[in-house]
Amino acid sequence: MLSQSVAGIVLESPLMLASGILDQNGYTMKRVLESGAAAVVTKSIGVEPREGYFPPIVSVFEGGLLNAVGLSNPGIIHIGTEISIAKEAGKPVIGSIFGATPDEFLRLGSAMEDMKVSGVELNLSCPHVKGVGAEVGSDPALVKQIVSTLKGSLSIPVFSKLSPNVSSVLEIATAASDSDGLVLINTVKGMAVDIYARRPVLSNMYGGLSGPAIKPVGIRYVYEVKKELDPVIIGVGGIETADDAIEYMMAGASAVQIGTALMKHGISVFSTIKKGVAEFLEKEGIKSVSEIVGVAVQ
């Protein structure tokens, strides 16, 4: 009832762990998978190790979370150990990668393929590091070149995670349309100031906003891109409940990713949402979760 195939990757349910949350240590990813996630996406991995920004890297508020972790990662040659541990859970692991050029993305994507990941997710959208992420992902010609380079060389599925912080998401989605799927959306650029210290909270000043506050933005882009281009979409942004996941799927997502909800609900959020989606389908007399994908698109 809940199993779903996304670009050829078979998932036991449409619920995946989003990149950037609890996905650096192999034992953590393994635990997340054993606790009910159908797949995990690793922290974004680059060519060289990066420590990321010095804390504060997060600022919590009622509607969600602001973060600027700064793409901390051990570098591509050291992530293999963690991926091997995560794969002990026997479920798909998707490797997230970031780079500045098509060559860098290719090098990272090929290395991920050698590590036997089920797919790669291109981070074309991190809002808080210069020269990569959204800076690459807001240039349609560069996005097209990166996607076609990887599609021409890799045999595993290639997903492109896009930013809402561009003047036209549709234009970038069109440029990335050779991907096996689009991941919509990354965080929304934001900021917090402490009024007593009278200065920005995050050490990087600017960060990315996630959590319930951005769900309507995510739903809108999933819907719009599904309606105009009809690609395979993985929805992400503010999913905390089964209703949120179903809403994303009805707007056009074939699967969803969950991240910030783990702050409030812990790792058990996957089994809670899974149960809620199954109950909804049963109550509504729907046989397979794939039947609800895009039903709201008019």
Partner: protein
């Protein structure tokens, strides 16, 4: 972000300072706060005083802790918390083993039923000397400049750990791992406060994870039974970039 004015600054040792401040929140022994030094950074700090007033004991490691040490009465502390799972508190006989600044998070547990082992590199690093109100205090230094020369795992059997209802341990991981081995046969009623690189404090960044659990949320205090099964404790940890490195024993 919570903010509170410093009431008192106490120079504990040449390199360690206690800062006391008012905070009405209930905080339990073993819990910690994320303390923000604007312009310098944010670091996790165990609460060394959980009554009224509250307090932290700061050793200078990096820019935020060095700046904290310069602060005094009337200066403002910015922090969030309290976070983490506290120690299990009991009334009975306690053996408390603290090495280096590890003794800070154990201090709120100490009572007249406690035997406390305080271990430091050298005499001038021994914090709270003469201030710990326990049944018995055993001092150790690595270089023998004060108390017994040696490490807690070498002498713990001399105090007959089986006689204690509960054992609490905090300090460098190598020391805690050796104490775990020295307590062979004991699989419950002993708790260790662990440390990993901590960045977010709210269970999402994965920096402080060990064996799949996040120390900021499901730690830092873990039981001896769990630690005996751990694949990472005393073996490997991730550095600030996420690269797996060996723990030197």
């Amino acid at each position: 972000m919570i903010h509170s004015q410093i009431l008192e600054r106490i120079q504990e040792t040449p390199s360690t300072v206690t800062l006391k401040f008012d905070w009405i929140e209930k905080v339990l022994p073993g819990q910690f706060i994320m303390i923000w030094v604007p312009g310098q950074g944010e670091i996790p700090m165990s609460m060394s005083f959980t009554g009224k007033p509250k307090g932290i004991t700061v050793k200078a490691y990096g820019p935020p802790s060095r700046q904290l040490q310069q602060m005094g009465r009337g200066d403002t502390l910015y922090f969030r918390g309290p976070y983490g799972v506290p120690f299990t508190e009991i009334r009975g006989a306690k053996l408390i083993v603290g090495a280096g600044s590890g003794i800070a998070s154990l201090l709120p547990l100490v009572d007249r039923n406690s035997t406390v082992m305080v271990s430091a590199k050298t005499e001038s690093d021994l914090i709270y000397r003469g201030k710990i109100n326990a049944k018995r205090i055993i001092y150790l230094t690595d270089d023998g400049t004060y108390g017994i020369k040696g490490f807690p795992d070498q002498v713990i059997k001399d105090v007959h750990p089986d006689d204690f209802e509960y054992i609490y341990v905090c300090g460098p991981e190598a020391m805690m791992y050796k104490v775990l081995l020295a307590l062979k046969g004991r699989n419950d009623r002993a708790e260790f406060s662990l440390e990993r690189s901590m960045k977010c404090g709210i269970g999402i960044c994965d920096s402080c994870s060990i064996d799949g659990i996040q120390l900021c949320r499901e730690g830092p205090v873990r039981g001896i039974g769990w630690l005996r099964e751990s694949k990472e404790f005393g073996m490997t940890k991730l550095d600030r970039s996420g690269r797996r490195v060996r723990i030197e024993l």
